[in-house]
């Protein structure tokens, strides 16, 4: 088996294994518009990569995968650049704010416990809601009954906000404030939870911005691309935790995977995509819950990671 030595991680890895791992996560990324850090970081730690290096190198890898995925989705007309940029601006502001919030929370003590519980509950709620909603939608499609859409309180409120503008790719008209505010909200949450935010951003775009699922995937990837460029440079600069060799093997797999993922995504209907993503979110929730409930093998761990 071909092994390569990773100078920053300080360990060697099996090239084929890491390439395959990259490919798998790339496919998920291309289908659902998530970064895949939830899956990649723990797997990398499992094969002997220090947690801090695993998380940082993964964001370097996501830069490659989301470039590939964004391009593939762009060609299918699935990237709403206007929306993406507004969400990004909000996300950067939120991320900066979130880092401060977490400092305050940590000082109050027991913050990690609250964060973990909130994350599990949120994944559980979002996953279940998405699952049930898309299941109902899929059933409706089989027996088409065109129910007239009621204007909810939420829609009325959103309609009253100033600076309404058209988002052509998404086919919606919204206030500029909406993506800015929601982007900030996701940015804060992502910083507090210590995750990339794809799992939070995608449902927010689907349910709160009411964007079509396919455009959500492409736009989410576009947004993740810039977030991860920022993270990669910051981690390289301040913590020296990006292992370029590791990222390179991963991204050779994931950029390829993202292309296939985008093709798979194109073949699926919006509601099918939603129900699959909902299942994935629920699986991740169960995994985190099990980590919390099962007795660890070793009672000590290296610092860093998700």
């Amino acid at each position: 088996m071909l092994h390569l030595y990773l100078p920053i991680a300080g360990n060697s890895v099996n090239v084929l294994l890491v390439f395959g791992l990259g490919g798998l996560v790339g496919i998920l990324s291309g289908i659902f518009g998530v970064g895949g850090g939830f899956l990649m970081t723990p797997l990398l730690i499992m094969i002997g990569i220090p947690p801090t290096v695993a998380a940082a190198s993964d964001s370097n890898q996501i830069v490659g995968a989301s470039t590939s995925g964004t391009l593939a989705h762009y060609k299918m007309g699935n990237v709403d650049f206007k929306m993406g940029i507004l969400l990004l601006i909000g996300g950067v502001a939120g991320g900066t704010l979130g880092v401060q919030v977490i400092k305050v929370l940590r000082q109050m003590g027991n913050a990690d416990f609250l964060i973990k519980i909130t994350y599990v509950l949120m994944l559980g709620f979002v996953g279940s809601y998405m699952f049930i909603e898309s299941l109902q939608a899929l059933r409706k499609n089989k027996a088409p009954t065109t129910a007239p859409k009621k204007e909810s309180k939420y829609a009325q409120l959103v309609g009253k906000l100033p600076w309404q503008t058209d988002f052509e790719k998404s086919g919606i008209r919204l206030s500029v404030l909406m993506p800015l505010i929601l982007g900030t909200f996701v940015g804060i949450l992502a910083a507090i939870m210590g995750v990339g935010g794809g799992f939070i951003m995608v449902p927010v775009m689907v349910y709160l911005l009411r964007m079509p699922m396919h455009v959500v995937v492409g736009t989410s990837l576009f947004q993740i691309l810039f977030t991860c460029i920022d993270v990669t440079i910051m981690q390289s600069y301040s913590n020296h935790t990006v292992d370029f060799i590791l990222a390179l093997i991963l991204l050779l797999g994931s950029t390829l995977g993202a292309q296939f993922g985008a093709k798979i995504s194109k073949k699926l209907k919006g509601d099918q995509l939603k129900i699959l993503l909902a299942s994935l979110v629920l699986i991740v929730m169960v995994k985190i819950l099990l980590d919390l409930l099962l007795t660890p093998h070793i009672m000590l761990a290296l610092k860093g990671g998700h």
């Binding site: 390569l4 060697s12 519980i117 440079i233 600069y237 009672m299 761990a301």
Partner: protein
């Protein structure tokens, strides 16, 4: 003559006190050779073998320790929050722990000395002696437990290991016999200076000793990347991003649909 006798007793007494701590009086230097003297970590490094060989008295046993520098380490401690959920519950600081501890011996610990504790006491080798040496910032009652978990973590990483009975002996020649061991150096070994110590053991006592140096350093591509990452970190970050974007563009070019624009 009397003067000479006094001098002799002084020398003998001094020798006795110098040698006392490890009860390793009259240790002789063991003839040892280890290969290589320098471990080079290159692009395809995946751990390596260190061959340690030499000669000892025919009736004796031998132990080999490859040991790294002592370091301080802060780890996360897991505990139950609200008596239900396993979480990281604060940090534990460990001091005086070697970054590598690989022990090979010609026989099991019990056969070298009467027990692990005695081996630790008389020979100063084995995990029990490591546990004694390390300092843990924790209440006394929890120290043994934390030391145990620490050893488990290090063994899991392959950085601490004990291989009893994995030193082979050759033919006797006169009163001597040769020994040889293939010491496995794990891929996770940090760069730096290491000590290769060989101990000749007779009835649970060290009768011969030899300490040699071993150097581990990165060469070629790993050395280049490390230097870039630490000395030109901003440039390294930009380069990493640039190459990732380029890989994404290339993959799209080769495997993408190739159609521009259009709705789905």
């Amino acid at each position: 003559m009397i003067k000479n006798k006094i001098w002799m007793s002084v020398i003998i007494l001094t020798m006795y006190f110098i040698c006392l701590p490890k009860s390793a009086c009259s240790t002789v230097s063991v003839k040892v050779k280890h290969e290589p003297n320098l471990i080079a970590i290159s692009a395809f490094f995946n751990g390596t073998q260190l061959t340690v060989s030499g000669k000892i008295a025919a009736e004796n046993e031998v132990a080999i320790i490859v040991k790294g520098t002592q370091e301080e380490l802060t780890l996360k401690k897991k505990g139950k929050a609200l008596g239900l959920l396993w979480m990281n519950m604060g940090d534990v600081h460990f001091k005086k722990v070697p970054n590598l501890y690989i022990l090979y011996s010609s026989k099991g610990m019990m056969e070298l000395a009467a027990s692990d504790a005695i081996a630790s006491e008389q020979l100063g080798i084995g995990f029990e002696s490591l546990k004694k040496e390390m300092e843990i910032e924790a209440p006394q009652a929890k120290r043994n437990y934390l030391a145990q978990e620490f050893l488990k973590l290090k063994k899991n990483q392959g950085l601490y290991a004990f291989h009893p009975g994995e030193i082979s002996f050759g033919q006797k020649s006169g009163t001597d016999k040769s020994f040889k061991a293939a010491v496995w150096i794990p891929p996770r070994i940090p760069t730096g200076e290491y000590q290769v110590q060989v101990m000749e053991i007779h009835n649970g006592m060290i009768v011969g000793n030899s300490i040699d140096q071993l150097k581990v350093e990165e060469q070629g591509i790993p050395a280049m990347i490390s230097s870039l990452a630490f000395n030109h970190s901003l440039f390294y970050g930009f380069l990493a991003v640039l190459i990732a974007v380029a890989a994404g563009l290339l993959m799209d070019f080769f495997f993408g649909t190739g159609k521009g624009g259009g709705a789905h």
